[in-house]
């Protein structure tokens, strides 16, 4: 068991190194010298050399990678070309925003999909099940930025519950307003994923309910509800929990898009702006950051799977 964990952790570290190296490499082999975009074309050779040394561009590639990697942990990620500000400082406030948004979206997915999935499976073929199946299919087909528009239309224009673009104002108002504003973009990210989870949980439960051990449970005098809750649900949740852990990567991707719709100043919005400005140190840092999240979530999904299924624990 301990050996397996060590092996897995080793694999995780290797994967992390590989992924961050790729993220670093992708933006380091780009043609063109970043000093030009900072100093302009009229800079003297001396100025360029000084800046190159300052940015660490005179070092060999591998050394630059390790400096940058160390920076990932200390927060020293280089200087933004565009804002002329340390990248770490630029991202510091925004990471919290996106993390909250993603966390909120994740909570919404779980809170919406688990009860609905169980409800659909419990009353398979009933009215609720049929209506939700249709709703699910439609929700899954709406890109989350369009869902963002829909929510904006409904809650901002029609119901006037919030004002799009008032994120910084809401931030100033305090934590309640801040979360209140983030609720809507989180919903836009969460709904399509929640629809997928409902569908998956429903079919997973129905699949388990056909298993032989469920028949055994019935033969002991358990009611349908008890069989579902105490027997089928746990086993049905195994693939769903893995799916949910993998979903976090999609949530982060979703927040890149949805932050744009709701004018939320998170790292997603920063990423899009920086790609537009070719502000590579910022892009590099954000990409590495997201890659870390994806790799760790995959690792967590795998670990959860092993914890939940005793058949896999020994291996």
């Amino acid at each position: 068991m301990a050996k397996t964990i060590c092996k897995r952790l080793g694999l995780l570290v290797v994967t992390l190194l590989l992924v961050t190296f790729l993220a670093f490499l992708a933006f380091s082999i780009l043609p063109g010298d970043p000093t030009h975009s900072i100093l302009g074309l009229n800079a003297t050779q001396e100025q360029i050399d000084t800046l190159r040394a300052q940015l660490g561009l005179d070092l060999p590639l591998w050394q630059r990678y390790f400096n940058w990697l160390a920076g990932l942990f200390t927060g020293n990620l280089g200087t933004s070309y565009n804002y002329d500000m340390p990248v770490g400082q630029l991202l510091a406030g925004r990471v919290g925003v996106t993390a909250t948004l993603a966390g909120l979206a994740f909570v919404l997915i779980v809170v919406i999909s688990i009860p609905l999935g169980i409800l659909c499976a419990r009353y398979e073929g009933g009215v609720v099940d049929r209506v939700l199946t249709v709703l699910n299919q439609i929700t899954m087909s709406i890109p989350n930025f369009l869902l963002g528009f829909l929510l904006t239309f409904l809650f901002s224009l029609v119901l006037r519950w919030f004002v799009v673009g008032s994120f910084s104002a809401a931030t100033a108002q305090g934590i309640g307003d801040w979360l209140g504003y983030l609720f809507f973009p989180a919903l836009a990210i969460a709904l399509p994923k929640a629809a997928m989870t409902v569908k998956m949980l429903r079919s997973s439960i129905l699949g388990e309910m056909k298993e032989d051990y469920v028949r055994t449970a019935y033969s002991k005098g358990n009611s349908k509800g008890a069989v579902l809750w105490r027997y089928a649900l746990r086993n049905a949740m195994i693939p769903v929990i893995t799916f949910l852990a993998m979903t976090i990567a999609d949530i982060v991707a979703g927040s890149i898009v949805v932050e744009q719709v709701f004018a939320v100043q998170g790292i997603g919005q920063m990423l899009v702006t920086s790609i537009g400005n070719r502000d590579y140190p910022v892009v590099q840092a954000i990409v590495a950051f997201i890659a870390l999240i994806v790799v760790v979530c995959n690792f967590a999904a795998d670990a959860l799977y092993r914890v939940m299924d005793p058949r896999l624990r020994q291996r």
Partner: protein, 269 residues
Amino acid sequence: MLLNVEHLKITFHDRDSRFDAVEDFSLSMEEGEVVGIVGESGSGKSMTAHALMGLIPRSQADISGKALFQGSDLLAMSRAQLRQVQGKDLSIIFQEPMTSLNPTMKIGRQVEDALRVHTRLAAGERKARALEAMALAGLPEPEELYSCYPHELSGGMRQRVMIAAALVLRPRLLIADEPTTALDVTIQAQILDTLKDINGREGTAILFISHDLGVVRALCSRVVVMRRGLIVEEGPADQVFYHPREEYTRQLIAARPTRKKLRGGGGHG
């Protein structure tokens, strides 16, 4: 009389077809009696067992006739009433020991399941009763197995766990639906011995279902032969085995491996 089934009829129906799995089945059993039902697959013997156990969803099949168990009709009970009987006075073990146990639940909890449903015993008391039942079912070192998972056990052991779980509340009737079919011959003989032993010690009546007349003869005092949802022949086990009246029964006997082959293949365990 423990069980009295009269004119049991099971008709499956879906959107556009109807199918009589069992056309007419009657049987009576005394307390402590061991009766066998024999037939080829599709003869309706397992359906009969599942119908008596209340495991056929009423939305899928029409079940008519009477099945008096300890004086009350199993077929006329509401689901809630039926649940009071299931696992308490009436238990079942299945053909597939590999899949009939919940893969993510510890053995002990599965053996205790009927106790959870039907009694308000404390955890310690439940465990004691479970260990007792496991010993009765011939499981060695029940204490250790108690916290194992099903995948850590062999097929024969799992079937013993199923037996222990079925017996934990000392039912009056145990339905055994081809419990040894999926196991190899040595294990099969051991399980049969255990069932016989339980019958002797606890006085549990057993309704034993099998496609193998030889196995049934070894365990049961009386045999019912079924074919295509109908009873073909019925009588004392030895009489049916050595002097079958019906051509179909003769074919069933001829179709099974001879006793010599059986001995040679597995010996007696």
